[in-house]
C-alpha cells in the first residue's frame, strides 16, 4: 500500500537506473530534505547546535570511512588521525588568511595525501595486518600533532578557529553552521549513493571481494587502493575541518585520538558496512544512545531512590557504549541498515505480507 510498485513503468534506461524508482520513496526523500532545510524554523537552537549539527558532520565522516571499509573492504583504524590532519591544516590555512572554503578544501587535499600514505601497507597486507598498521600510523600522527609546535601551536595548545565566511556571507550563526553541516552530509551522501554505479565503485567492490583476482582481470590494484584511501581521506579531512570550524570552533589533539578512531569504526559497523543510510543511523546511534540511556539510568535510579557513587556514574556512558556495540554485533551484525531494510521490506508488501514466504 505504501511502496506501491505496480504501475511504475520505465520507458528508458535513465529512469530504469534511477536511484529511487518508487514514487513513494522519492516523495519520502523530498519530505526529508524539506524538513532538514526548514529545521531551524521548528527545532530549538539547543537541539540544532548540540545534536543535529554534530550528527550531520559525524555522518559525513562515517560516510567517508564507509567508502573505504564498506565499499573497498580495507580496514582503517586510524581515521581520526586523517580528520585531525584536515582540521589542523585548514585551521592553519585560515589563520594565514586563506578564504574559508579554500582552507577546507586544502585541508581535505592534505588529508588525502597523508591518507594515501596510510594506504601504503594495503599494498602488501590486508585484513588484520592492515588494521594494525593503520593503528600504528594513528599513534604516529597523534604524536606528530602534539610534539611539533608549528602544527599544534605549542604544547597542549588549543588553536581557535577563525570566524568562517563564504563569499562575504558570515557563517558564524547557529543556523549557518547547521546549513553547512547539512550541505556536507547531503553532498557526501549523494556521492556515495552514486559511486557504486560508476566504474570506480565497481572496481572498489572487485578489490573488496578478492584483490588478487581483480589483479588477474587487469585492475591496477596499487592505483585503485591508493585512490580509495585518498578519496575517503579527502572526505575525512573535509569533515574534520568542518567539525573544527562549525562544531568545536577550536582544535586540540584530544579531539581526534584513538578512541575517536574506534568510535568511527563503531559508527560504520553499527550502521551497516557499505550502506549510506546506515552511516547516518550509526553516527546518530553512537552519538546519542549512550547519552539517552545514561539519562534513563539516572532517572530510574532517582525514581528507585538508589544513589550511585559519582565515580561509577562517570563510567556508565563507557559501559553503555561498549555494551551496545557488543550487543549489536552479537544480535544484528549487519547493522541498523539491515533493521531499516527489514522494516522497509515489510512495508513494501504490506498488507499483502502473506504472499511472501
Amino acid at each position: 500500500m505504501f511502496y506501491r510498485e505496480c504501475g511504475v513503468r520505465h520507458t528508458n534506461y535513465v529512469s530504469d537506473r534511477a536511484i529511487a524508482s518508487i514514487p513513494f520513496e522519492r516523495w519520502l526523500l523530498g519530505v526529508l530534505l524539506a524538513a532538514a532545510v526548514l529545521a531551524p524554523l521548528y527545532i530549538s537552537d539547543l537541539f540544532l547546535v548540540s545534536y543535529l549539527t554534530p550528527w550531520l558532520l559525524w555522518s559525513a565522516a562515517a560516510l567517508g570511512l564507509n567508502l573505504l571499509m564498506g565499499l573497498a573492504g580495507q580496514i582503517h583504524l586510524g581515521y581520526a588521525a586523517i580528520m585531525a590532519v584536515g582540521a589542523y591544516a585548514s585551521i592553519h590555512m585560515a589563520r594565514a588568511g586563506v578564504p574559508f572554503g579554500l582552507a577546507v578544501v586544502g585541508g581535505g587535499l592534505l588529508a588525502a595525501v597523508i591518507g594515501s600514505l596510510f594506504g601504503l601497507p594495503a599494498m602488501r597486507v590486508r585484513g588484520l595486518y592492515l588494521a594494525m598498521s593503520t593503528l600504528a600510523l594513528q599513534f604516529i600522527v597523534d604524536w606528530t600533532l602534539v610534539q611539533v609546535p608549528a602544527i599544534s601551536g605549542g604544547a597542549q595548545a588549543t588553536l581557535v578557529a577563525p570566524r568562517p565566511s563564504i563569499l562575504g556571507l558570515s557563517l558564524v550563526s547557529d543556523e549557518a553552521r547547521y546549513y553547512v553541516a547539512l550541505a556536507l552530509a547531503v553532498a557526501t551522501g549523494l556521492f556515495l549513493v552514486n559511486v557504486r554505479r560508476t566504474d570506480l565503485g565497481r572496481t572498489l567492490v572487485a578489490l573488496r571481494e578478492k584483490d588478487y583476482a581483480a589483479a588477474v582481470i587487469g585492475i591496477n590494484v596499487f592505483y585503485y587502493k591508493s585512490l580509495a584511501f585518498a578519496v575517503s581521506s579527502f572526505i575525512g579531512g573535509v569533515s574534520g575541518s568542518l567539525l573544527a570550524f562549525m562544531y568545536y570552533r577550536a582544535v586540540t589533539p584530544e579531539q581526534f585520538g584513538l578512541n575517536v578512531s574506534i568510535m568511527m569504526v563503531a559508527m560504520v559497523i553499527i550502521g551497516g558496512l557499505g550502506s549510506v543510510i546506515g552511516s547516518f543511523f550509526g553516527a546518530g546511534f553512537v552519538l546519542l544512545a549512550p547519552i539517552i540511556l545514561e539519562r534513563l539510568l539516572r532517572a530510574g535510579a532517582a525514581a528507585l531512590s538508589l544513589s550511585i557513587p559519582h565515580s561509577a556514574l562517570a563510567h556508565i556512558p563507557l559501559i553503555i557504549y561498549g555494551g551496545l556495540i557488543v550487543l549489536f554485533l552479537l544480535g544484528e551484525p549487519l547493522g541498523l541498515a539491515k533493521v531499516y531494510d527489514n522494516m522497509r521490506n515489510y512495508l513494501r508488501i504490506w498488507p499483502f505480507g502473506y504472499t511472501r514466504k
Binding site: 601504503l120 565515580s311 563507557l318 552479537l330
Partner: protein, 293 residues
C-alpha cells in the same frame, strides 16, 4: 656507554614483561585466529583481581596468583563462549570491533567496581634497586622479566604434553583437528581461559610496577608491537621480539626524549608495528598465510 647499558638492560626486562602480555595474544591467535584487542583490558582485570587477593585480602602470593588466574580464566572462557563463538564466520572487522568493544566495557566496569583510585600491589619499601657494578636495575622489572621467561618456558613445556599437542593441532588446521577427534571448541575455549590466566599473572606484575588502574589497558599497543614483530603465532618470537621492542623503546626514548620533548616511546612502538608490517608482515617467526583464488 654506561647509560646505554643501563637503558638496554632495563629496557630488555620491561620488554620481557611486554612479551608476557603478548603471550596472551599469541595463545588466542594460535588457536582461534582472532587477535584479542581486549588483552590490555584482560591484564587490567587480572591486575584488579590480583590486587583484591594479594593486596586487599593479604593472601599469600601463590594463593593469590592461583585465585586470580582462576578468576581470569573464567572471564576468558565466558568471553569465548558467549561473545566470540557467535561471531564465527563473520568478517574479521566485526570480530576486531567486538574485542575493541569488550575492551571498552571492561575498562568501564572494573575501575568503578574495585575503586577508581590507583591500587598499589606490594609495599614501596621493597623497591630498592639492584646495583650491578655501576648499573642500576629496577628490582620489579627484574622479577617481572624472570617471571615472563618462566611463563614462556612453562608454556613451551605444556605444548609438548598431550593437551598441548592437541592445541597445536587446532592452531594448525581446525578441520583436520576435528577429523581426528579433537574437540576444537573446547580447545579454543581453553586457550582463551589460559590467556586470561596469563593476563592475571601479567596484571600482578605490572600492577606492582605502576599500580593497578585503567591505564594498564594501554599495554595493548606495546603487546601488539611485540606480537606483530615476533610473529602472531610464535611463542619463541614473542620473547625475542619483546627484548627487541623493550630495548629499542628504552634506548631511543632515553636519547631522544630530552631532544624532542617526550612521548617517543609510543612512536617507537608504532614504528615497529608499521615497518614490520610493511617489510615482513608475518613477523620474525610467524607463519605465512598463502591465499589462493
Amino acid at each position: 656507554m654506561l647509560f646505554l647499558a643501563e637503558l638496554a638492560i632495563n629496557g630488555g626486562l620491561v620488554g620481557l614483561m611486554y612479551a608476557l602480555v603478548a603471550t596472551g595474544i599469541v595463545l588466542i591467535y594460535k588457536s582461534s585466529g582472532v587477535v584479542n584487542l581486549a588483552q590490555g583490558a584482560f591484564v587490567m582485570a587480572g591486575g584488579y583481581f590480583a590486587w583484591l587477593f594479594v593486596g586487599r585480602w593479604q593472601l599469600p602470593v601463590p594463593v593469590g596468583v592461583l585465585l586470580a588466574g582462576g578468576a581470569m580464566g573464567l572471564l576468558g572462557w565466558i568471553t569465548e563462549r558467549f561473545a566470540l563463538r557467535r561471531m564465527i564466520g563473520q568478517p574479521l572487522i566485526m570480530i576486531l570491533m567486538l574485542t575493541l568493544a569488550l575492551e571498552v566495557v571492561l575498562r568501564g566496569t572494573f575501575p568503578p567496581v574495585f575503586g577508581v583510585d590507583t591500587k598499589p600491589i606490594g609495599s614501596a619499601a621493597v623497591q630498592a634497586p639492584i646495583w650491578w657494578g655501576d648499573i642500576l636495575i629496577n628490582r620489579t622489572y627484574l622479577v617481572g622479566g624472570v617471571t615472563a621467561v618462566a611463563v614462556v618456558v612453562l608454556l613451551s613445556l605444556f605444548f609438548r604434553s598431550r593437551p598441548g599437542i592437541a592445541m597445536r593441532a587446532v592452531s594448525d588446521d581446525h578441520l583436520a583437528a576435528w577429523a581426528v577427534g579433537i574437540p576444537v571448541e573446547r580447545v579454543v575455549a581453553f586457550s582463551w581461559a589460559a590467556s586470561g590466566s596469563v593476563a592475571a599473572v601479567t596484571g600482578l606484575l605490572w600492577g606492582s610496577v605502576q599500580g593497578v588502574d585503567w591505564s594498564l589497558s594501554l599495554l595493548l599497543i606495546k603487546a601488539l608491537a611485540v606480537a606483530v614483530l615476533g610473529g602472531l603465532d610464535s611463542l619463541a618470537g614473542v620473547v625475542l621480539a619483546g627484548l627487541f621492542v623493550g630495548i629499542a623503546e628504552n634506548v631511543v626514548s632515553g636519547y631522544l626524549d630530552p631532544v624532542v620533548g617526550g612521548g617517543t616511546k609510543t612512536v617507537v612502538t608504532a614504528a615497529v608495528i608499521f615497518f614490520t608490517i610493511l617489510f615482513r608482515p608475518y613477523g620474525l617467526f610467524g607463519r605465512e598465510v598463502i591465499e589462493r583464488i
